[in-house]
């Protein structure tokens, strides 16, 4: 998506003026960071669910809640 044919890496040098768009990489990196934080938080909640309920089986937790 960001690749420009015959373009170089997006580094400012005097030897070339045609370069690929760096934006998609930035977006994907940010999305990965967001994804990792979400996963980390999700796993942290699962650990606390395990301490509180003694299980991570969905059926058993729902039974206990009701």
């Amino acid at each position: 998506m960001g690749k420009v044919i015959d373009g170089t890496a997006p580094i400012l040098t005097e030897s070339s003026t045609l370069y690929s768009s760096p934006l998609p990489h930035v977006l994907i990196l940010t999305a990965i960071v967001v994804g990792i934080s979400t996963t980390a938080l999700g796993l942290a909640i699962i650990i606390r669910i395990h301490t509180a309920f003694g299980t991570i089986e969905d059926d058993k937790i729902q039974q206990e809640i009701e």
Binding site: M1, L23, V34, T38, L41, G42, I46, I49, F53, I65
Partner: protein, 494 residues
């Protein structure tokens, strides 16, 4: 220097204050800092509103990188209006939060409450103020992640399960939003919302653009709990600490409805959004479904917090209905209801917070006859309750009045019975609480008023202010109604 950097300060200030709360590690200092930061945020949003009224729009290039390359903060009247709602709710809720928080959150975790609260505020304000589609996604995730974390702070272990469910739903929604932003970037090569709307107006109406639209609507629908994508909301509001439910009920869904309005009216333009696929009929049906389903479910609940959560789903239906009418009056009605409902629902939730503080329960059955022991709380609950029903002289009446007027003007007279019927159901669910509290005899097993606790003065004060706001905006409506009409006019005529 300060006045020209206000848009950045609005977001950066709570963001910087959040880790400070961890460093302070003291619950009183963290609370003072939070209230102070919320107050300053409120001051900034008032100043921005003033500037916008004078200059119409403000743009701010983050870090000096000019749009469309850099991230731009874009403030028009709609932005300023929403900033004002969110920051004023934040000030009043944080002000009244301390007593209830010490009761409902383990004492070694209290400073973490203030941290996540400020992060959530950062996310919400950022979503409103940003003019960049990808930055919007990042702020949505800041707001969402901090709200998952803030929900699990409670002592009740069921809040963990509710938070996890919310996390799964929310992440699906966020991924859809990200896919949509990605597709839009492929088509137009830009992420700036103002630039995007220009490019889209010239672009061919391809399947990619339509797909991006659908992904976005579904994603934001999950986040804003638009019926039938509301499944995470009742549990999240019921099991989280009451102050958390209060803040989330007043802010989160409103902000995501704002994003919906932004996308439909500013980014895609309503001609695209509505006329191509008759999308507005779909929204109208879901809105009617929400009003009937939410109010009906609310009647069946015994837990006050769950009752209010279902009532929120119904009220979101009213707001969506206004958006779906595609008229100036309809959009204005929706904006007025976003404003009024933020204060009504926070008022109701704060009353419930006070009840839980005193009795350690929110079961309607167990609260029978309790209006005698704490008359003031129930009177204030009643005021906000009347407002959500839509009794004249309360703010709820104003928004329902404009919504009914808008439906008639747009020619959808069959919507009026639905709106009225949903309000009748609201009389029943608020009436059940009032009946139990005032007219039923106290039970033998009834929980007694917990005398050991001091009266929560700050909580009462904040609750009192919300009740006052509910009546004030039922009588003197020049601030929100005029503003909403101006915004609607600008968005529709664009």
């Amino acid at each position: 220097v300060i006045s020209s950097n206000l848009p950045a300060l609005q977001v950066v200030l709570p963001l910087v204050a959040a880790p400070l709360c961890i460093i302070l590690h003291n619950r009183i200092l963290a609370w003072l800092l939070t209230v102070f930061v919320c107050l300053v945020s409120f001051g900034i949003s008032c100043a921005l509103l003033n500037q916008v009224l004078a200059e119409n729009t403000i743009t701010y290039a983050m870090g000096g990188w000019v749009a469309p390359w850099g991230i731009e903060y874009y403030i028009d009247k709609l932005t300023a209006y929403m900033l004002l709602i969110i920051s004023s709710v934040a000030v009043l809720v944080s002000f009244g939060a301390r007593e209830s928080i010490e009761n409902e959150i383990a004492s070694d975790r209290i400073y973490l409450f203030y941290t996540t609260f400020l992060l959530n505020l950062t996310g919400l304000l950022g979503v409103i103020i940003t003019g960049d589609a990808f930055n919007l996604f990042v702020f949505i995730e800041i707001a969402s992640l901090s709200s998952y974390a803030i929900i699990c702070l409670g002592k009740d272990k069921r809040c963990l399960y509710a938070a996890f469910r919310y996390l799964i739903f929310g992440t699906v929604g966020a991924s859809f939003i990200l896919i949509s932003v990605g597709l839009l970037y492929v088509v137009t090569g830009t992420l700036n919302i103002a630039d995007l709307s220009q490019q889209l107006a010239n672009a061919e109406n391809t399947a990619t653009i339509k797909t991006a639209f659908v992904f976005f609507i579904i994603g934001i629908g999950i986040k804003a709990a638009i019926f039938p994508m509301h499944l995470w909301l009742p549990d999240a509001y019921t099991y989280s600490p009451s102050i958390v439910s209060t803040f989330l009920a007043g802010t989160t869904t409103k902000v995501f409805l704002y994003v919906l309005i932004r996308f439909i009216y500013s980014l895609y333009g309503y001609e695209f959004s509505f006329f191509n696929e008759s999308f507005n009929y779909l929204l109208m049906i879901t809105a009617c479904g929400a009003m009937l389903y939410g109010s009906y479910q609310a009647i069946k609940q015994d837990s006050l917090k769950r009752l209010l959560a279902y009532s929120s789903i119904a009220q979101i239906g009213y707001m969506v209905l206004g958006i779906a009418l595609i008229t100036e009056l309809g959009l204005a009605a929706s904006l007025i209801h976003i404003f009024n409902h933020a204060f009504i629902k926070v008022g109701l939730f704060l009353a419930v917070t006070t009840i839980i503080y005193s009795y350690n329960t929110d079961s309607i059955e167990r609260l029978a006859g309790m209006a005698k022991t704490s008359p003031l709380t129930f009177v204030l609950f009643l005021i906000s309750g009347l407002s959500i029903i839509g009794v004249p002289l309360t703010s709820g009446f104003i928004s329902k009045w404009y919504l009914i007027k808008a439906s008639l003007e747009a020619g959808y007279w069959m919507l009026v019975p639905v709106i009225v019927f949903s309000s009748v159901l609201a009389i029943i669910y608020i009436g059940r609480v009032i009946e139990a509290a005032y007219f039923k005899p106290e039970k033998d097993s009834a929980i007694s008023f917990d005398d050991s606790k001091k009266t929560p003065y700050l909580l009462f004060l904040s609750l009192f202010i919300f009740s006052f706001i509910n009546i004030y905006f039922g009588i003197e409506t020049s601030l929100n109604v005029d503003m909403a009409f101006q915004i609607a006019h600008e968005l529709i005529s664009k």
